[in-house]
Symmetry: C2
Subunit: 818 residues, 2 copies
């Protein structure tokens, strides 16, 4: 594997002379070898070089794989190899089509990378046999281009993210060329359809180049593809409309000699790469006018190209029937077995592999060497080149907290001050991604003291903080933000994604795929650690006064905790200092997904910097200053909170209880690191039962005010002692357009209801404090009536009147827009 | 409101003469009235007609709304009103931009619909005051075009689905015109970007017409929009590439007189509508060549058009600063209050409303009457025109089950036979939507005996089951499938969505919005019930042999059950007859989201038709035939299952236990309706504690084999008696490419492990049956080693050898492609 040095590229133009016949021959030889190795992976258990007649015992009993996309991928790979060698290009690939695994594995095997990272798969007949057997086989490798595939940063599983990942890899890699293959099936997905516009965010000086190749092979599982069934002028208009210069090549139909197709494609690839070199040169010289109209290639070849054209009298090649395994029953009749043998031999393996089964020199002549191999490019194993961020001591950015609640801040704005320094100190490997919400989430204005929003579209004089280069990437597509960030992280850099809490569900499935990627890479020794994927969900369920019910959903946390405990972390900081501490931790961590939910409105500051350090180190703890228990005594009731709004309601409830019931021993607990609640054998952060009991008691009523859906707290704690006395309040899908306090009331999370809960659950209180209980009921009614008449919350709750603190006004609405 | 009759449209062409100055004046008058009412909603608590000087008490204390998009929406609405009247068009609107609520509410108020459905909001000054106050106010209406807005089937909350909904509404409504406004912010989302291709699925004879209007007002929350910042030739190429005929209008900049803009837009709208009429006429005559290049309009106007251009010396109109509330502090200084008053008066309210506050005739002259009003079109209140499906008795399609497991079927194929009849019997109001998986999920071939896949792109001779019209809608975009289906249901029709279980997460957020829509509409008396949204997730987590880890995720169920219990239902049928019964129920139901998870591979049939009826009626039950308890006796252990694969493993485990431990009383329970597990006060389907205890016992060990993430079962049952003895096995994110049985083993859901669980949990067994336990451990190892060597499962488990049944072969792989 690579040594981890960052390669450079001189963007050379190539003379416009045809590629020599000899080079074309070598491309074709490589292509045949890759195709042979691909077919072998799908079908063969044994007899890998077909040196004896194929028998059914040589064939896998269950044929699990896909041929359709593979010959085209091998074709593009072979040609890019030629270009890399000739131009000394620094290139990685992104393979969008699903199930392209065999092709990319074949190329990694041919260029030697595969044997370097998997020592038992040598370049000999025994190695080929193992290579073949492991494919889509128990204990082996998946059918997709996957984490196991050297050179990949993109799994060909779920479709739609090829270009987003490609552009994410290209940002801040000015010498990188990303060959991004988009399948015409994938092209129908929404995320892919918008990702063509990524070219509006590329700076030709600072960033690398993405060369998209739309592979039109015409069919999906059972249908033709849309882009293959529109007139050619529409197809070309579409890509011009996306701002590209499209180049169209087609061939291989009706038995056309592949050599002719190689020649046409080589010419087009050279033209596209020359155009790229020209753009790069102009950009470097400062002579580029306007936005570059980067090239893209449309390659139209038959689906399943080079497989038996007709099987059992039915056309297979160039139809959807070639999508998966063309000879699904290769073991069932001698005719089918013979057909498979003929297919394998059509690549002339005897010309491709020597007696030991090693690829002959001609078969691999076109492949580059060392780090220039796409399979071995260190950029595609991002941890190899990842450098830790330079981070200022967040404590210097912390806010003063003379006493809990004495001051208040918009926590995200304070975080913005610190992030501005992260940007200054890390000018080339840290970016912030978001769907037009950096300002709304109040990281700005601070971050715009250090950077701008990058945009390659037209910039007008009225625009603010928009420039050709910048560290903030905004596009109104959560898919794009997520995909760009993933691509950026997977190539060894750092970043975060700020979004609305409700709409982060848009990327639920992308999160799934990334979390699965991280889980799998933990078990692949040659994959190095990459920076964690950090979310900042700052316009959250409790503060959607502008937006209402459609914007209220705290369920992303529930979604995330379904994934492997090794990979996911959830934090609910409640003020400026705890948010700073949380993000300092997140930006240092690797191989996790960190979900941070924190409001953007003014909130009382509760902990000093030092207290925040201690609280965050533990992940949860008792706020002695907010309760009324005596040292060494057990409390009568535990009021616990996770989340900023629940924490304030718990503090207010505790104050009411203490005033009204002086002899009641109230404990106030705050949980910032949600995974602490899980048993220690289920999550690495999980608290031991002993520690859990010390905080929550084993039998006292616990009233738990939680940011999200209440059942998650039950799920995390159902094995705990005292789970029977745990009562959780949270968002129960009662939402509307109303005031902040009315929102917590609608979900019974408000201070008054928490007091009622305590009265109802602490033995003896219900009888003794029926009057207080009624007062609470009345207070709720009063608060609601006031809100419905005046459109704002009553001063008593709007001013979080608590321990005498003058602080945040929840009637503030500024910036909560969308 | 409407009487519910389906209107017809004659697609008339209009002479190409300019619209008269008088008509233009009336359009402008209407526009001013709509704008006035929009501004009033955002700002005013009182003094609605500004008949006395505005004071701060007239202004809402918290200004929660958005002006930016509204004047453009009012403009398009006013012009469409004119066209509807002139051409007698049957038209609904879809408003994509977020926060367009005030505009559409204003128009519904002007044309009288609003007062018809909300009787307290009359057309007089008191009514206007109430109209204004309720907007974005506690107890009032949201800022978006919402369920509360008459005429809407689309919430302007989450962005991206305007066109998908519009096309869904147009399918099978040949006389319908859908004016679909796409914001240039929304246009950046993935789902929207691909939805322009919906025109490749419209049949000009059978379906209605969508007229997309891209509203380029240039800015999002804090950024310019991409499509506003590309050269005009790219913009036009893009929409030509999408297969449209684009028409561009711009105006209103630099103080241009709106009258001039009205004239230009009226001319373009006429041209577009004439083109539509021409296409419709050609299609009816059978003379249309190829796919129609339907018109679309690009309207470029200033953001916040007609608001104060400059506030506090800063440009507001035509910038992102007009996005939300241009005068955010209208109460803070007399100057700002005066500016607001001047803004309101700029629309000349004294010319728009009479002394009582009623709109004067000129102000509403352009609005159509009755059902022609877009606010009152019955199609946008789909329940008004919804007709129940004609459904054959599913029992006639049931499979024979001489004894449990004696036969086996692919359940989805059997369902396909029944669905073919649903299609035959309901030729105009039922469709199946899916991302290229109808065949893979094995509803086909059967459904293709009754219909084809609809496609308006090029159709080639090699294609099968593809035609210009058909009931199956396939596009490789879950977003499109979901959006189309939602639009189809919301306009009174029926359908289902088949997808892979893992990738249905792609539409998590769309599901959220639809579930929220359903919840809200339950509380709106004039909204009528619509058909349920039915999912069929048939390529599920346990059978992804081709696809591996990236395709394994059963978490959609978890996501769904976070939503209101009134709205969501989850079913896990386990064989052909239970699947038929489930779908019969789903297609009859209204106002739910029904999630059905059912495998497509051959599975043993367990219940006869009659047994299935009984089991499905209860939703769960004891399989006496599979256990060994005696009537009247409590079992020693309960083996429960939910899901097809868990059910088989439980049956096999029960058989092993009975053979090995003859005196053990085993009860076998199956849960089809997952919501039965919830307490009855939490879900309408929830079982009473008494019934629950009768099935699960209060203290016996329950080994629960569940299809999905095990913690969901705990979440649903944690308040139940006996929860402490409940032990759940399910998918715990241990996935890979392997054999089916190895998959269940990896997650400890296999028969052998269930036997071990029983031994470990039934008191006394562990000591007495240590040998059996070891046998089970050995059997697991044997099974894994066999799979790793041979690539398939050992015959003992591959042939679900159980009660002597010869049945499904889990080594079957056919069709499990992707």
């Amino acid at each position: 594997m690579s040594t981890g040095t960052m390669p450079e590229t001189a963007w050379k133009k190539r003379e416009e002379t045809p590629v020599s016949d000899e080079t074309i021959r070598l491309i074709d030889t490589y292509w045949r070898a890759a195709n042979y190795l691909s077919v072998g992976q799908i079908y063969l258990l044994d007899n890998p070089l077909v040196r004896t007649p194929l028998t059914i015992d040589d064939i896998k009993p269950r044929l699990l794989g896909h041929w359709g996309t593979t010959p085209g991928l091998n074709f593009m790979y072979a040609h890019m190899n030629r270009a890399i060698q000739e131009r000394d290009l620094n290139t990685i690939y992104i393979i969008g089509p699903g199930h392209g695994g065999p092709g990319l594995v074949a190329s990694a095997y041919l260029d030697g990378t595969y044997s370097e990272v998997y020592h038992d798969i040598e370049q000999d007949e025994a190695g080929i046999k193992r290579l073949f057997k492991q494919f889509s086989f128990p204990g082996g490798i998946p059918s997709h281009v996957a984490p196991e595939t050297p050179g990949s940063i993109h799994e060909g599983g779920e479709l739609g993210y090829a270009l987003s990942h490609a552009y994410g890899a290209a940002f801040d890699n000015p010498d990188l060329l990303v060959m991004a293959v988009v399948g015409d099936g994938e092209a129908e997905t929404g995320p892919l359809a918008t990702s063509w516009h990524s070219n509006k965010w590329i700076d030709p000086v600072q960033d690398g180049v993405v060369l998209p190749i739309l592979h039109l092979n015409g069919y999906k599982i059972a249908n033709p593809t849309v882009l293959d069934r529109i007139p050619q002028d529409e197809l070309l208009d579409l890509f011009k409309g996306y701002g590209h210069t499209p180049y169209l090549v087609e061939g291989g139909f009706d038995g056309e000699d592949p050599i002719a197709v190689h020649k046409r494609y080589a010419e087009v690839l050279d033209a596209a790469l020359n155009q790229i070199a020209e753009i790069k040169a102009q950009a470097a010289a400062g002579t580029l006018e306007g936005r570059a109209k980067w090239p893209m290639i449309i390659l139209r070849t038959p689906k399943g190209w080079t497989c038996p054209p007709v099987i059992d009298g039915v056309q297979v090649e160039n139809t959807w029937r070639a999508h998966q395994v063309p000879l699904a029953n290769a073991r069932d009749t001698p005719e089918h077995t013979a057909l498979l043998e003929g297919w394998l031999k059509s690549y002339r393996p005897e010309e491709l592999f020597d007696d030991e089964g090693r690829p002959v020199p001609d078969a691999v002549a076109i492949a580059p060497k060392g780090d220039r191999r796409m399979s071995a490019n260190p950029i595609a194993n991002g941890g190899l080149i990842r450098k830790d961020l330079r981070l200022r001591d967040w404590r210097e950015f912390g806010v003063d907290v003379p006493s809990p609640g004495a001051t208040s801040n918009e926590a995200t704005r304070v975080l913005g001050d610190w992030l501005a320094k992260v940007i200054e100190d890390n000018p080339n490997n840290f970016r912030i991604f978001g769907p037009d919400e950096t300002a709304s989430n109040r990281l700005a204005p601070p971050v715009y003291t250090a950077t701008d929003k990058q945009f390659a579209g037209e910039i007008w004089p009225i625009d603010e903080h928009i420039a050709r280069v910048g560290r903030v990437m905004e596009v109104l597509s959560e898919h794009q933000c997520e995909g760009w960030l993933e691509g950026y992280l997977l190539t060894g850099r750092h970043g975060l994604f700020t979004s609305y809490e409700a709409f982060i569900h848009i990327v639920d499935s992308m999160f799934n795929q990334h979390a699965k990627w991280l889980k799998v890479t933990r078990e692949i020794p040659w994959r190095r650690s990459i920076s964690s994927l950090n979310y900042l969900l700052s316009s959250h369920v409790w503060r959607q006064d502008h937006n209402g019910f459609s914007h209220q959903d705290p369920g992303f946390i529930d979604h995330v905790v379904n994934k492997s405990a090794d990979v996911v972390r959830v934090y609910l900081p409640f003020d400026a200092n705890t948010l700073l501490s949380t993000y300092d931790h997140c930006l240092r961590s690797v191989d996790y997904v960190n979900v941070v939910v924190a409001g953007k409105q003014p909130q009382p500051n509760l902990l000093t910097v030092d207290e925040a350090v201690r609280h965050m180190t533990r992940g949860l703890g008792i706020f002695e200053w907010a309760g009324s228990e005596k040292p060494g005594e057990e409390p009568d009731v535990v009021l616990a909170a996770a989340g900023d709004i629940p924490t304030l309601e718990v503090l207010a409830a505790s104050e009411i209880l203490q005033k009204a019931i002086p002899d009641l021993k109230v404990r106030v607990v705050n949980v910032v690191d949600l995974m602490k609640l899980q048993p220690e054998d289920e999550h690495p952060h999980g608290l031991s039962d002993r520690d859990y009991d010390a905080i929550f008691t084993v039998d006292k009523p616990v009233i738990f005010a939680y940011h999200g859906y209440p059942w998650l707290i039950h799920r995390l704690t159902y094995r705990r002692n005292g789970h029977g006395t745990l009562h959780v309040r949270g968002y129960k899908e009662e939402g509307t357009t109303t005031t902040p306090f009315d929102m917590v009331m609608r979900n019974d999370l408000d201070r008054y209801h928490l007091v009622i809960d305590a009265i109802d659950r602490v033995p003896g209180l219900a009888e003794r404090y029926a009057g207080l209980r009624q007062e609470m009921v009345d207070a709720r009614l009063t608060a609601r009536l006031y809100a419905y008449e005046h459109g704002e919350d009553i001063p008593e709750v709007a001013k979080w009147a608590w321990k005498g603190g003058a602080n945040a006004n929840i009637n503030d609405t500024g910036g909560d827009n969308d």
